[in-house]
Structure formats: C-alpha cells, structure tokens
C-alpha cells in the first residue's frame, strides 16, 4: 500500500513539475520520468499481491456522513495493475524518443502521469464514491490528451465526441452506484454484496453497468468515440488508451460481477450478443478503413468483443453450474486482456513510428517501409500475427481457451445457452478470418512493395528509446505464446475473486496441456528454421538475379500501379454491402477525351449512421425548441430549481427511490 501511495505521489509530482517548468526538456523529464519510476514502483505490490495472496485495504476517516473513501488492492486489481503499469513504463520510455522533435505535443504532457495515476485509482478504489471521482479524472485527463493538437478542426471534433460519450457513460455509472447505495446504505464495494437478489433489479443494475462501462470499453454500439479519438490522439497516447484505458471498462464489468447477485440469464445472453456484434462488426469495419490508426481502433473493438464473449461464457458456465466452462471463459478473458494490452500497445507504437517518419496516416499512400524501418516492420508483423490469433504467439492461447470453453458449452449446455455458444463460435471464427485478411492488407500495403509517394526526408526508425519498449513487447508476444504456463500464476489467484468456487486443480481441464504447447511450438519453430537452412543451403551455389517482380507486360510500371488496400478489401466490402454500405464519390468518364476524374469511397459505421446520428439530430431539434422557450429571467430559472428540489424532497420523503 505504501508503495502504491508513493507511486501515486510520484505521478502527481511529475504532473506538477511538468506544468511548472517551462523548458521542454525539463517538462519531459518530469512527466515521463515520474511515469517510469512510479510504474516500476507500483509493479512491486501488484506482483506481491498475486504471488503471496496478501490483499490490503485502507479506508480514510469518515469525511461526510455515510461516506468513507476506501482504497485497496485485491487480486483482481493487481491483475489489471500489472498490464497498466508495465505498459505505462514502456510508453514513457517510448515517449522520450517520440517527443524529441515534437514541441507542439508538449502542451498536454502533464495529463499523462495524471491519467496513469487516475487509472491506478480506478483499479484500487474500493467504494463507489471514490471510484466515480477517479473515473471522472481519468476521462478528463484522457480528453485533454486526445485534444493535444487542438489547432486541428478534426481533432477538436473527435475530442468533443469523446467528451460527450464518456460523460453519458458516467451518467449510467452514477445511476448504478446511487441505486446500489440506496438499496444497501453504503458505498463500499464489500457492502454491495448484501443486495437482495431481485432479478429485475439485478438486471437493471447490470444493464446500467454494461452501458456505462461498455462505452469506455468500446462495446458495439457504444463504441463510437473509439474510432474518432484514437486517430486524433498522439500515437503514444493511443497506445495507452487502446492498450489499457479501455480495459478499465472491462475491469468495471468484472468488478460489478463480483458484488452483484447472480445474474439472470437474459443479462448473460445480451452480454454475449453484444460481444459477438463487437467482434464481427469491429473487424469488418477495420478491414474497410483507410486510416491506419482508425483501423487499429476498430480492431480494439473486435478484441474487446472477444473478451466480452469470454466473460459471458464464464457467466453462462456459472449459471448452468458448469465449473469447467466457467473457468475457461474467465481465464480466456483475463488472458486475452493481458495479451491485447501487449500487442495492441505494440501495434500503436509501430503506427506511431510510421506516422512520425512519413507524416502520413493513409494506408494507400504508404508502401515499402520494411526496407527502411526493419525493426518497426518486424515488430508490427509479430504483433499482427498475435492479434490474428496465430500460433506461436500469445493471441492464439487466449483465443484457444475461449474456443475450448465454447466447444464445451456446445457439448454440455442445455438448448438455450447452447445456441449462444454456437453463435459465439461462429462469430469468433469468422472474425479471426477477417482479422487475417485485414492484417495481410496492412502489412502488404504498408510494409511490402514500393513506396507509393516520393518522400524528401530519409525514413528513420528513431532513437533506441523508441525501439527498446517495442522490442520488449514483441518478445513478450512470443514468450507468452510459447510458454503460456508463465501466465497461470497471475490468472489462477484472480479467478476466486470473480466467484469461482472450485479450484482449477480439481477440474479435469486442458491447462495441463499448456505445457505441451511449448513443446509443440518449439518443434514447429525448429522445423521452420531447418527448412530455412536447407533452402539457404540449396541456393548457396546458384547465381542470384534481381528483377522487378511482375510488370504485367507493361514496360515501366510505376509504384502507383501497385495493388491498393482498398482494392484488396473491395470483394469483402461488396459482399457485406448491407452492413458496410460504402458511400462512393465517382464521376463516370464521358466523351472521347474524358476529363480527369477521381474515385473516393468512404465507409460509415452502422451504429453511427443508423443509430447515433438520427438520435443526436432529434435531440438537437428538441433542444433548440426548448431554447426558444426561454424567458431569460433569473427568477424563473430559480423557480424551476426550487420547484424541482421540493418535488424531489417530497418524493424522497413519501415514496423513496
């Protein structure tokens, strides 16, 4: 606890120092140095909690009647603290290199340590009141980081969308916690368990939590802020937000599960449906994006969907008293949380490198980067393989656990939940296929081939500070894939907090086979290396000739004739026309000597197009009518407040909530 408090103090002082000092170098050292030191310091108690199973809690003196600030760290908090602090430390290192020549990004730097501190606060808060406070600090600091480049109109727009959605989410959380407070008479999490299990009330509470936390996590259809905010933010912030901040939403859902009474079946089923929707639609929209960071943002939605399916599966197992399914669902979800932090952080850092070197986010304008930026390219490819769930990388293992659980569900569960398991299986498998299509597109277009535009500046990787965290993350992707049993000591202590009663060792589960994965993968890698060596040996004495790959009978093909990302994605886009509905701007060629024309497609999100835009338009209409009704007399407004307050008082006194 002392160490966690100390690291919070470090973050705060870092933020303060970064505000007070004017010189760019000092600003950077204060903010980033504090994040680095604080994160490493905070990792120690997190590991201790998981290893020695010593949880700790601290509550402040009662400051107002019925209100106590309580903080503490149990296994669930510690499990989330590890990716949070680990990734923050890596990103702080990266940011040292990233911010070297970017003076204009320093304005909001002080919010970076504050954001990390707020996220830590979210994870260790043990009562609803302090949770809401740190949650709001987290939303606001991340808003300021998203709008770092506020000179840009688009960035301001994205920031605005983020601010509105995040506050709507907080509104639902407010309802959630206040209802719990009214029913149990306390804000402390451990007292929430006293809630009587009325099924409609539980369902309502869970829905409020799902919308509130789901918006932060980016569950479809509450995800709309994600594809806007991530491209707008500086890349290292995107990595932090996508890597770990959206996981605080998942943490919230898991935490709600720990203190709510057993959920009714329809809640679990709606959770699964939202998970499937996020998974499939997330990856589908990712495939059709032209902007590198927007594409990655949509992939976050997909992965959140997979995690949600895992959680839903675990709850389904609990509901049907099937401990094996419960275990596999929760373990898979927790493992995927860890994995997603690693590879999504890595992908965004790689994207940051690309964007900083080329000043270009449009995929179709890039090309051939693997030659100029080999390290970025290779780490990006490793992360892509991991995110697609391909062996021998870490994404495979977590998806495998969830798959195993789903197959068990298909085998053992009664008819109702059975069909949801089938649907989830199809959803994840389908999304996996599309994810591969999507990342072959990115890698093929961005890293292979030739540069599509001429660039004056020499392309550079950047300093070692930037490279080091990327290398570490890539190695982690590989190590956790080859030796998945390393993660078990983190996951197994966390599961009892989530309400698993049967110890994992008592179940006949495929965890033991995790060791066999290492062997299998090692053999696979060995075979791969062997084949490569034989191939090299066979070519040893042959003459090599360099030639253009394929010029299609043209005499001098230019780089612009290369296959583009859009053309690669076109068949799938046409196939899912009813979901994607791309807007096409094209003027057909006319006459014998046609004029220059252009072709432009643009895909709009289903939720944004058919749900939120009409909703916002209607709201604006109603509100502008209300605005016209104003009489602008202070006394009238005061009277409105007065009457409302009295009505609320009477309601509270006579009816109660």
């Amino acid at each position: 606890m002392i160490l966690l408090a100390a690291s919070t103090v470090l973050f705060m002082s870092g933020a303060l120092g970064s505000i007070l000092f004017q010189r760019a170098a000092l600003k950077k050292i204060w903010a980033l140095g504090s994040v680095l030191a604080g994160s490493l310091l905070g990792l120690i108690p997190a590991f201790q909690v998981l290893r020695n199973k010593i949880t700790f809690a601290y509550s402040f003196k009662e400051t107002l009647p019925g209100l106590k600030f309580q903080f503490g760290c149990d296994e669930l908090s510690a499990f989330f603290l590890i990716p949070l602090l680990g990734l923050s430390a890596g990103i702080a290192l990266y940011a040292f290199g990233y911010l070297k020549k970017e003076k204009h990004l320093l304005g909001s730097l002080a919010c970076f340590p504050l954001l990390v501190a707020a996220m830590m606060g979210v994870l260790v808060a043990q009562d609803g009141f302090s949770f809401l406070i740190v949650w709001e600090i987290m939303s606001l600091t991340s808003f300021f980081l998203v709008t770092t480049e506020h000179g840009n109109r688009e960035v301001r727009f994205s920031g605005w969308i983020y601010l509105v959605t995040t506050h709507c989410a907080t509104l639902f959380l407010l309802v959630f916690f206040i209802l719990l407070f009214k029913k149990t008479g306390s804000f402390a999490f451990q007292d929430f368990t006293l809630l009587s299990s009325k099924s409609y009330l539980t369902g309502f509470l869970f829905l409020a939590a799902l919308i509130g936390f789901g918006t932060k996590a980016g569950i479809f259809p509450f995800h709309i802020w994600l594809p806007h905010a991530h491209p707008a933010a500086p890349s290292y912030i995107s990595a932090l937000m996508s890597g770990i901040m959206i996981k605080t939403g998942i943490y919230g859902i898991l935490r709600a599960v720990t203190f709510l009474p057993p959920l009714p079946l329809w809640c679990i089923e709606s959770l699964l449906v939202l998970g499937i929707l996020s998974t499939v639609l997330g990856v589908l929209y990712a495939l059709l994006q032209h902007d590198l960071k927007r594409l990655l943002a949509y992939h976050s939605i997909e992965n959140i969907g997979i995690i949600i399916i895992g959680i839903g599966l675990g709850l389904l197992g609990r509901h049907t008293h099937n401990a094996a399914i419960e275990f596999l669902g929760f373990a898979g979800a927790l493992f995927h949380i860890l994995n997603h932090t690693i590879f999504k952080g890595l992908l965004f850092l790689g994207a940051g490198n690309i964007i900083q070197a080329t000043h270009e986010r449009r995929i179709d304008q890039l090309g051939g980067l693997l030659k100029f930026m080999p390290l970025t390219g290779i780490t990006f490819i490793i992360a892509s393989l991991a995110i697609c769930g391909l062996p021998p990388f870490n994404g495979f293992i977590s998806e495998w656990l969830i798959y195993m659980g789903l197959f068990d569900g298909v085998k053992d569960l009664p008819r109702g939940p059975f069909s949801f398991c089938i649907a989830s299986l199809v959803g994840i498998a389908f999304a996996g296929g599309l994810a591969i299509a999507c990342f072959t597109k990115v890698i093929g277009v961005v890293f292979l081939g030739l540069p599509r535009t001429k660039r004056e500046l020499p392309l550079q990787e950047g300093s070692w500070l930037k490279r080091l965290p990327m290398i570490i993350l890539a190695i982690l992707c590989f190590v956790l894939g080859v030796m998945p049993q390393l993660v078990l000591p983190f996951i197994l202590p966390t599961l009892p907090v989530l309400g698993l009663k049967v110890p994992a060792s008592a179940l006949n589960l495929p965890i033991q086979s995790l060791q066999t994965f290492s062997v299998t993968f090692m053999i696979l890698i060995g075979i791969f290396i062997l084949i490569a060596l034989i191939y090299k040996a066979l070519l040893l004495n042959k003459t090599k000739r360099l030639a253009p790959t394929w010029d299609c009978g043209l005499r001098e093909p230019s780089a612009r004739m290369q296959y583009t990302a859009s053309s690669y994605a076109e068949p799938l886009s046409t196939f899912f026309y009813f979901l994607t509905g791309p807007t096409v701007h094209f003027q057909t060629l006319k006459g014998i000597f046609p004029k220059t024309t252009s072709f432009k497609t643009h895909v709009e999100d289903l939720a944004e197009r058919n749900l939120w835009t009409p909703f916002v338009q209607k709201t604006v209409e109603i509100m502008s009518w209300v605005r016209k009704q104003q009489q602008n007399q202070i006394q009238n407004y005061l009277a409105y407040i007065f009457v409302t307050l009295i009505l609320l008082l009477l309601w509270e006194v006579w009816v109660g909530i």
Binding site: E62, L64, Q630, N632, Q633, I634, Q635, L650
Partner: protein
Amino acid sequence: MEWVLIGIMLTAFVTLGSGRLSNCIRAVALQGALLSLLVLLPSHSFSDSHHVFLATISFLIKTIAIPALLAWSLKQAKIKQEVDPTISLHLSLLWGGILLVGAFSGAKVVSLPTAPFPFLIIPVAITIMFVGFFLLVSRTKALTQVIGFLILENGIFLFGITLIGEFPLTVEMGVLLDLLVGVFVMGIMIYHINKTFDHIDTKALTLLKDSE
C-alpha cells in the same frame, strides 16, 4: 434554545414582509447573530475550540461583514429604498406561512439526530431554506437576491451545525464558503449590473436573450 430558533424564524419573516431594503439587511444581520449565539448555547461548548471558532467566524461574517457591505453598496448604488417585489408583500407573508406548514409537516418524516440541539432545528432549517429560495424567486433587485441567498445559506448552516460534533471541519469549511460566495455575489453582480444598466434590477438581464 427554542426561543433562539423561533427568533431565527421570525427574522426570516421580517425579510419577507418588510418593504425597505435597510430593514431587510438589519433582519439578516440579526439572524446571523442569533445563529452564532445558537452555536454557543449547548453546554460545554465554550470549552470546545470548534464551537467557539465557528461562532466567532459566523458572527464576524454574517452579522458584521456582509451586512456592512450590503449597507455600503446600498449607499453607493444610490438606488431606491423599496424592495419592489413581484409578489406583493402580503402575499409573500402568506406564502411564508404555507411554506412553514409544509416544512413542519415534512420534517416529521426526516429523522435526523439533532442532539445537543432541540428537534425544532430541523423544521426551522427547512423553513428558512424555503423562505430564502422564495426571496430569490420573488424579488428582482440584485441586493434582495443576495439577501435571499444569505437566508438560504443560513438554513443550510442550521442543518450543518447538527453535525458539528462529528464533522467539525466540514461545517467550518461550509461557513468559509459563505464568505467566498458573499464576496463574489456582491462584487460581481451588484457592480456589473449597476455599471452596465445603470441600476441594480436583474430584470435588465432579460436583454441578454439571443436575438432571433
């Protein structure tokens, strides 16, 4: 202590019924004095530093500083002495009576520990808050708004002092907030309205409406 509480309530009714601004200010000052007296009335309160501190501070702020400022600005702004209510004075008094009945009947349901003060403190606090709000709604001059606000604050203060045994710091902070609010409201509202519109009637703020 009941007599002091009744006195506090009566001063609120004086502000409702009096037609001259200077009388209102005097009534508010008296109310502040009674409030600070009330803090000192429970036994052993002289030995408790929090009670003494609270009484001194609230006396200084509520009885001396803010009324003096109000009286000064009354002189400065050279405004008419009448209150100019939108609801006539008699009707205001009648409304005060209705609010009083409402507060007393509602207070039965609110069960709060009030020791060492008598239970009467709860309905009185609610009444004063209602009256303060009613003044805010029914009077148009900025100065009367400030008075209404002060009475509202006094009601909250009455609620607050029932907690002084357990949460002395919170209550004291609330009182200091009074000072802040008082200064702000005085400075900004009166000065600016007077300067911009040549009088201190908040009706003039209506001119700020969006043109269509």
